[in-house]
Assembly symmetry: C2
Homo-oligomer: 332 residues x 2
């Protein structure tokens, strides 16, 4: 416990990020002040939304600063505490990933029980991606039993849970799209009724074949041609929960937008963007449902784990290229 | 009462319709069979949605047939009846415009009281455009007091009511866009807090100047650059009621879509297309509210009236070019 390594943003990416946008920096392990704790991170999360924070634009979260550590979801063990409510040895969830040791106010940490679930699960199925899937599908898109649901990036951390939760909540038919044959195979194993590789042809045609009777709900992680295809396939009173548009996060030009948007009138479609932070009101039922399904073995979750803080940039770049199955994590 | 004139669709328009797409046809005045009535139309409505029905595409209403009369909202006096519940002399609202005499089942007609309001009002402020404005603003966009509302095509039959109803229901600020200086002047007279001519510069800039603190609600009649500008200007949790996209009804190419659609995520925007026919549940409160406002002189409505069934195509073409102030009607 003599040195700490962290990842700084060395320069802002233009288009696709590259390794040179990141810098591994060695610092001292911090010492907590009053009310503070030091956490040795065990896992940190890399997420698509982080790409947006690398640009210097106003958004719903402030941009990352240059020459300073990145941040994001992480879980670890408290190794020093000057806060009475947190003890050394506690496992806590917090927002200062991208570093080996995190110094933070104890109020910014949430204690979790590592006996209930593996630490990594709090960053995936029981964490932000899980709640995103649950709230987006059931609250934002208001899925009802019997409906047909389509989710893009379906082999990712959020998408794979959306599809499974839809089935568990009584969806009539669940369709997923993903970026490789192996992912498509995995979706079938997870219980998706249909799945396709979006490289295999126009999304519109693949979707029509997979959903001959149309869609009621589309959970959008991708934007672009997926959204356009879904708008065409949606039935009257269909809903779109817009969670992400990863297809365009690295675009340097404004993206092509759905050119069939006027269909929303005749079909009375609803498109709703959402952020998980608005949906803490369902966290309790989410945890109860998901913990129950995990216990009963009815819900699976995949993790792709990369070892070593020095490989966090590579993990992030891999995530943007879709190299993950399920949640992409860095074991620190 | 020896001959009847009606307008047929002679050919399907490609892009902007022209007079040659229509044909004036002389027929006999029909005779009612059992349960039927004959109505001498006094006013007929021309509406933007009719443009879509001139194309041979599947939509929420069937396309108009070639070499057959067009149809649409109309009001007139019953001149012959073989239905016990409707008497000669009654004034009825029905769906067979574009002709001087309409033959229809009595079940397809709704009796109205011509003493309560001028007949034309049942095709505008008290009719479909009025309910569209009311339900779109208050139900679909769920406007709340104090909010900032923007409406496009604001000098049209729906738009002018949206803006006034917003003020009457306590909107903090109401902004309208229209297509001429005279219309902009009219909007100011109607009580809009700000109004601009969209020819005067990029909509995005005009809107930013008119709504420096952003928008909460956008009532979209136009699509295209108006929708894109509104998405940029909307505040967190803003809502868009999508009523029409007249900017693209005559497009022969797929229209440019909003290229900033990914903003819906961070701002948690909701975009909802709607059709007035789904909102009959608010018809009663709509009639009560609007009749009250009219009685109290707090709500104005404009009508642009063209005389003669033979001029109905010209009235429709004028509507598409924005030559109307308020509701465009044909006095038959």
């Amino acid at each position: 416990m003599t040195s700490n390594r962290e990842i700084h943003l060395a320069s802002r990416p233009s288009g696709w990020p590259v390794e040179e946008n990141f810098r591994l920096v060695e610092t001292d392990v911090p010492t907590p002040g009053p009310g503070q704790i030091v956490v040795r991170n065990q896992y940190m999360s890399v997420d698509p939304y982080m790409r947006g924070r690398m640009d210097d634009v106003k958004s719903y979260v402030p941009p990352y600063a240059l020459d300073a550590p990145l941040d994001g979801g992480a879980i670890g063990e408290v190794v020093a505490s000057e806060a009475p409510e947190v003890a050394v040895g506690d496992t806590v969830l917090h927002g200062l990933g991208w570093r080996e040791y995190a110094l933070l106010d104890a109020t910014g940490a949430r204690k979790v029980d590592p006996a209930l679930a593996p630490a990594s699960a709090y960053l995936s199925v029981l964490g932000m991606p899980g709640l995103t899937a649950y709230a987006g599908l059931l609250e934002v898109a208001a899925m009802k039993p019997g409906e047909t649901v389509f989710v893009s990036a379906a082999a990712g951390s959020v998408g794979s849970l959306v599809g499974q939760i839809a089935k568990l909540k009584g969806a009539g038919r669940v369709i997923g799209s993903a970026g490789s044959a192996a992912k498509v195979e995995r979706l079938r194993a997870l219980g998706f009724d249909a799945a396709f590789d979006y490289h295999d042809g126009p999304v519109r045609e693949s979707l029509r074949a997979a959903a001959p009777d149309g869609l009621d709900v589309y959970f959008d992680n991708v934007g672009g041609d997926h959204l356009e295809a879904a708008i065409s396939a949606l039935n009257v009173h269909g809903r779109v929960a817009i969670c992400g548009m990863i297809a365009q996060y690295n675009a340097t030009e404004p993206p092509a937008a759905p050119r069939n948007l006027s269909l929303v009138i005749g079909k009375r479609l609803t498109l709703r963007g959402f952020l998980v932070r608005d949906h803490n009101n369902v966290r309790e039922t989410f945890v109860r449902d998901v913990a129950g399904w995990l216990r009963e073995g009815r819900l699976s979750y995949d993790e792709t784990v990369v070892d070593g803080i020095e490989n966090a940039p590579a993990a992030f770049l891999g995530l943007l290229r879709g190299e993950n199955l399920g949640k992409m994590l860095v074991r620190v």
